[in-house]
């Protein structure tokens, strides 16, 4: 048994740092690999078993955007598609999530409890269960293979994910609402002018999750788009780059594309990051 407290602390710290270090490397290795190999210059191999590329080049990124050598792979178009879908579904679903949360948190109406339960139950079903049904419904409406269909699917059910922001709204004292009501504010005004400005962190969280959705969703987008390659989003498009037909020539561009996808999400996060710090501490009831 080690007597010295200092030594014991050093040893335990060393162990903890070692474990954390290993976990950190495991977690970050795929990202580093992706980034380095997207700059690899030795031809078009899938992983050739090398950890670090021998030569580096930007050519993969240039090829990705110029899209030569294929009649269908059009990354810039896919990127634009995804961006448009992401923007629309982000705006619609953020508003609907926040509105639903506010209603459940502040308003009292007949079916309130029951609706919340139904929402919980529906939310428990795995999403892909309804995908085929959704596809056929969209087909009846003539929306399959269409970007509007994606916006609809991503944003219309978004209100069901109200739990987190409702929980947040519940922490804002009702005294604020009451004070505003005495001053003559309507429920609508309270939502926009009192509650929202105080809920920046949760607004940011909602915006980010809604924006990321279209960039990462694969299954639903694939089912809806079918063979309409010009309306693909980046997720399906990137997968197309590594199918049997394209893998030999497009693998490097696939890696580059995966890196590029991270850019808009990162930019949005950096832009909104500062609001994370603000939030409730900035306002609230004094005394």
């Amino acid at each position: 048994m080690i007597k010295s407290y200092k030594l014991r602390r050093h040893i335990s710290n060393a162990l903890i740092y070692l474990i954390l270090g290993v976990m950190c490397i495991i977690w970050i290795a795929p990202f580093v690999y992706l980034l380095l190999h997207s700059l690899r210059a030795d031809g078009a191999a899938v992983s050739n078993g090398e950890l670090l590329p021998e030569w580096y080049t930007f050519q993969n990124y240039i090829d990705l955007f110029s899209g030569t050598g294929s009649s269908t792979l059009n990354f810039p178009k896919w990127f634009l598609n995804t961006f448009i879908v992401a923007c629309f579904s982000c705006v619609i679903s953020t508003i609907s999530v926040l509105a639903v949360s506010y209603s459940f948190s502040r308003l009292r109406f007949g079916m309130r409890k029951k609706l919340m339960n139904i929402a919980m139950i529906l939310g428990m079903f795995p999403g892909f269960m309804t995908m085929i049904a959704m596809y056929y419904l969209l087909k009846i409406m003539g929306l399959d293979g269409n970007l509007i269909a994606l916006v609809l699917c991503y944003s219309c059910g978004a209100g069901l994910g109200f739990q987190i922001s409702k929980g947040f709204f519940d922490t804002i004292p009702r005294a604020l609402d009451e004070a505003a009501t005495i001053d003559g504010a309507t429920k609508n005004q309270i939502f926009w002018k009192i509650i929202l400005p105080m809920s920046k962190p949760i607004v940011v969280y909602t915006v980010l999750t809604a924006f990321i959705g279209p960039w990462t969703d694969f299954i639903l987008a694939k089912i809806i788009m079918g063979d309409i390659q010009e309306n693909y989003t980046v997720a399906i498009g990137l997968q197309l780059m590594i199918d049997l037909d394209h893998k030999t020539t497009w693998f490097q561009e696939f890696l580059a594309g995966s890196v590029v996808v991270a850019v808009p999400i990162t930019l949005l996060f950096l832009k909104m990051q500062k609001y994370y710090v603000g939030g409730v501490t900035a306002g609230g009831v004094k005394g």
């Binding site: 050739n48 049997l244 037909d245 693998f251």
Partner: protein, 443 residues
């Protein structure tokens, strides 16, 4: 709460009913088009002329404003578009609205077809191993009877026979080349070395370069078992269990041991990698030979230029005997969607696309080995096509293969390739082989 549930359930039921509507609507169009197809058959029997490329224009019947969708793999899209233009020009008296050519990888053509045949292509290419799936899902329209005898006369026998079910032919043979062969850098491996597996590996080792074969992939590793005589022979009577021919287990085990021995002896030279690495390896000089398929032919040719060499798979020494490696070999077909609205036009287009001219053009620009015998003669000097056709003599047709086949054969290859595997351990090899067979046959 109960009431609410009832409402939700009612909603779900209506939704499914709607989806059902969509399906049944499609069904009725399918039956309608079938009758149209039988119409075209009788006409063809009635003496309309059909040559190796062009059926008579009268076979279009009363179809007008023809709107078709064609699926072709990305690499072939440009060419197929050109061929479709030719098609429209040839039948100038027929009114076409649009013939659209879309890229669709052949590897998942069947999956996408079955998902929603109504939205699938009217005319589409697919490899032979997807035939069962497509037939089971009833998305293939049988080849118009009037075309069958011409197709039989003009094409190699095996691809035609493989696409038959009962009396009907279910797809138009497009290629007779869907397999793998030996590619090599002829500055390292001589044509003589390429005759034996040992020779190829020795030459690669001397040059300090790699030999690539995807031993963990069932598509390639089944070669190990086939070479030993454990050939597959369609399904058992239940239509799902893989049937093997009667083989001598001792020979299989001995052959597997010979393969494992080579992997061990030439460790570092024999590497199991994705075949995509072969062309890249040729480019950067790390790879000197490999087992690759026809779909990568152009990439490998570009990478090696003048140094490109191709041959049938080599032989391997088992005991005192040189055994020819036996591979899996498939065909590609063009099928007609059973739900297409323009059944006659789709059949004629499929016939034309698999005709002599189109096959020759694809062989020349894409390197696809024709199933049409005359087209084959036209390109038979091509070294790849020679290699592929030589290998096709030593191959098992890639039809009627159980879903369990691929991963189990993959396990066989990857176990043998593992560092710790002892190639001289007969008992272990035997038990591995028995395990693999049990897995394939799901016993």
């Amino acid at each position: 709460m109960k009431k609410v549930l009832a409402i939700i359930l009612a909603g779900m039921v209506t939704a499914t009913a709607f989806a059902g509507c969509g399906g049944s609507g499609g069904g009725s169009t399918a039956s309608g088009s079938e009758s149209a197809a039988s119409g075209s058959e009788s006409k063809a029997d009635g003496g309309a002329t059909i040559d190796a490329n062009w059926p008579d224009a009268s076979m279009f019947g009363d179809e007008t404003d023809i709107d078709l969708k064609v699926w072709a793999p990305d690499a072939a899209v440009e060419l197929v578009k050109k061929q479709v233009e030719e098609f429209k020009k040839h039948y100038s008296e027929v009114k076409f609205k649009n013939i659209e050519v879309r890229a669709q990888g052949e590897s998942d053509a069947a999956t996408n077809m079955i998902k929603d045949p109504e939205k699938g292509a009217d005319v589409f290419g697919f490899p032979s191993d997807q035939l069962d799936k497509l037939l089971a899902a009833q998305v293939l329209s049988p080849v118009a009877k009037g075309f069958v005898s011409t197709i039989e006369a003009n094409n190699a026998e095996k691809p035609v026979v493989a696409a038959k079910e009962g009396d009907s032919l279910y797809a138009y043979p497009e290629t007779n080349d869907n397999g793998y062969y030996l590619v090599y850098d002829n500055t390292v491996v001589t044509a003589d070395d390429a005759k034996t597996f040992e020779g190829v590996l020795e030459a690669c080792k001397k040059a300090g370069k790699q030999f690539v074969m995807d031993a963990g992939n069932g598509f390639y590793s089944c070669t190990f078992a086939f070479t030993g005589g454990a050939l597959i022979d369609g399904f058992e009577a239940d239509g799902a269990t893989q049937k093997f021919v009667d083989y001598n287990e001792d020979t299989v085990v001995k052959t597997l041991m010979a393969f494992a021995k080579l992997m061990k002896t030439y460790k570092g030279t024999f590497t199991s990698q994705d075949v995509a690495n072969i062309s890249a390896g040729f480019k950067n000089g790390k790879v000197a030979a490999g087992v690759d398929g026809t779909w990568d032919s152009n990439g490998n040719k570009d990478a090696l230029g003048d140094k490109f060499g191709a041959a049938k798979l080599p032989t391997i020494k088992v005991g005192n005997e040189d055994k020819q490696l036996i591979s899996l070999f498939g065909y590609k077909y063009i099928g007609v969607n059973a739900r297409t609205k323009f059944q006659r036009s789709a059949q004629i287009l499929a016939y034309y696309l698999t005709g002599q001219d189109c096959q020759t053009q694809r062989a020349e620009t894409l390197g696809w080995g024709p199933s049409n015998t005359k087209a084959m003669e036209a390109v038979s000097s091509d070294p790849i096509i020679q290699a592929v056709s030589a290998q096709s003599q030593n191959a098992v047709p890639q039809v009627k293969i159980a879903g369990t086949f691929w991963t189990s054969m993959g396990t066989l290859g990857s176990e043998m390739y593992k560092d710790g595997w002892n190639p001289d351990d007969e008992a272990a090899t035997k038990s591995l082989w028995e395990k693999v067979v049990a897995q394939i046959r799901d016993e």
